[in-house]
Amino acid sequence: MAPDGNVGLSWPKDDLTMIPYGVYINADIFDLEMERIFHGPSWNYIGLEVEIPEPGDFVTTSVGTTPVVLNRGRDGSIHAFVNRCAHRGAQVVRETHGNTKVHTCIYHQWSYDHAGKLVGVPYRNGIHGNGGFPNDFEPGEHCLNKLRIEIFHGIVFGTFSEATPPLVEYMGTPLKERIEALCTRPIKVTGYQRQRVRGNWKLYIENVKDCYHGSLLHSFNSCFGMFRSTQRGSSVMGEHPYHSVLTTYGVAESEMVGENLGAIATHKPKFELEDSSVVNVFREHTDGMVTTILTMFPCFVLAQIANHLGFRLIRPISPDEFELVWTNFEYVDDEPWQSEVRRKQGNLLGPAGYLAMEDAEALELAQQSIHGDQGKGHAFIELGGRAFEDQDHLVTEVPIRGFWKGYCEIMGFATGDDTAASS
């Protein structure tokens, strides 16, 4: 690692309009991110309360690359711990989800309760006076590494750092209000979707903050007349530039037809759908919001696209690969016809989504070329100006630069002309 603290990367502009390509491929950077971001003062999405409704229920996930178990104790309390045995390091919980009274490592059968406390150690006192652990062995000193958690409207976030501010303070007003609007009614998970993308995790978080590409890369929008950049929208970061809420507003009440259903169409399409049920939408929010994409630093996304609702978690795997996990949901009190509308709109999102499949391709193209050119040079981000400000339109890349501002702060990277010496 270079001694300059910037790991050999140059950040020539204070306003983060130039991003060094090395940041997407450098293995030292990736390791530093795990330490300074994912084990640092950040809140990370771990799961949902509704995924573990009963005592003993658990799901596995990860924070950065660190494997994590989220589970519910016998008293109903929720805990999260690192999925690595305190004895010799084996993964304790092997199933992706389930219910158990106690978590037992298969290797030497050390067992832990739902809070990660060590409750069972075979041969602790030896056998027939032989062996065993020394007399000063303290089970309390060998617990699974716990995460501090906070729950907001059923969404569980965890942090490894004592320095992380309270969750609501960390998320800021725009995220708090948007999550409240979407998650106040009881929700139900409708399914998971997973994509392995050969790209750096930061390419995806940039992508979901990137208003520029929406109607350009995803031509389904424009060809079938669903979205265009001239639609009314807003790009809001609030108190913390590294989070964002992007919103578009669409169909007016008067344009709705049928059973509260209206097509999302915004202009004359190039093509017409044979079966328009895939783009039928019912009005769900009084403010006419059609699309809202909320991102919370570092890797959490909550998106409402028409009536399609889903959380997304970006799981870094290596500098060159991440997994995108979609957890889609509906409301418990949805009518059957509303569930059907959401199910049909599922064709728009996810790995085969009309509005989403291009992202994975674009990101892999970026990663390949950046890698091929050995991370030389800088990305250029100036659409929407060089300030860090909320805007009432979507012709902007400002939220991407907001992400990088927070990134450089938490990573301890200096920015501006004086760092431009190398690479």
Binding site: T96, H97, V189, T190, G191, Y192, Q193, R194, Q195, R196, V197, R198, L217, S219, F220, C223, F224, F271, L273, E274, D275, S277, V278, E323, N328, R343, K344, G346, N347, G350, P351, A352, Y354, M357, E358, A360, E361, A362, L363, E364
Partner: protein, 166 residues
């Protein structure tokens, strides 16, 4: 909603063979990138679903593709040909272990294994998806058609996207 083979009432002979061939022709149309032919393997109100193993086993929906009419399939073909952008590649299906049983009422259930290899622009082939087909087949004027085809990929973490039907 889901199709499962439950009994040992396996059908052999001409009908089973026709249903196996239906699957092979279906696969060949996709591998030849004759996408316009793809919806024609279905009846008008046919259903085509991709239901990843993870969700199917957990009793969750979470489809990758959910078409409940041939018209929805035609839309996907149009979109794939004219609108969507995705990785440039060849597909190669292999289908095996086709077992058929008679569900009565002119409906046959067929279950088979599939593997799809993809080859990229550099000539590198990788295993893209492996899983099962759960089909409902009917005969229209003596010709077999899918009333329903549920693709269940074991490869539920797809790399990186699904554009062309499996």
């Amino acid at each position: 909603m889901t199709t499962t083979m439950i009994s040992n009432r396996t059908v052999t002979g001409e009908i089973a063979e026709q249903i196996a061939v239906l699957n092979y022709r279906y696969a060949q149309a996709i591998d030849d990138r004759r996408l316009d032919d793809w919806p024609d393997f279905f009846v008008e109100d046919g259903r085509y679903l991709i239901h990843p193993r993870e969700n199917r086993d957990r009793g969750l929906e979470g489809y990758w593709i959910y078409c409940d009419s041939k018209r929805m399939m035609l839309d996907r073909v149009l979109s794939l040909k004219e609108v969507n952008l995705y990785n440039i590649h060849y597909d190669r299906h292999s289908i095996s272990n086709v077992l058929v049983e008679d569900a009565g009422g002119g409906v046959y259930l067929a279950r088979s294994n599939y593997t799809v290899m993809q080859t990229d622009t550099g000539g590198i082939s990788t295993m893209f998806s492996v899983g099962e087909y759960f089909d409902q087949v009917v005969f229209i004027d003596g010709e077999p058609r899918f009333k329903e085809k549920i693709v269940v990929p074991d490869t539920f973490a797809v790399s990186p996207l699904v554009a062309i039907p499996l």
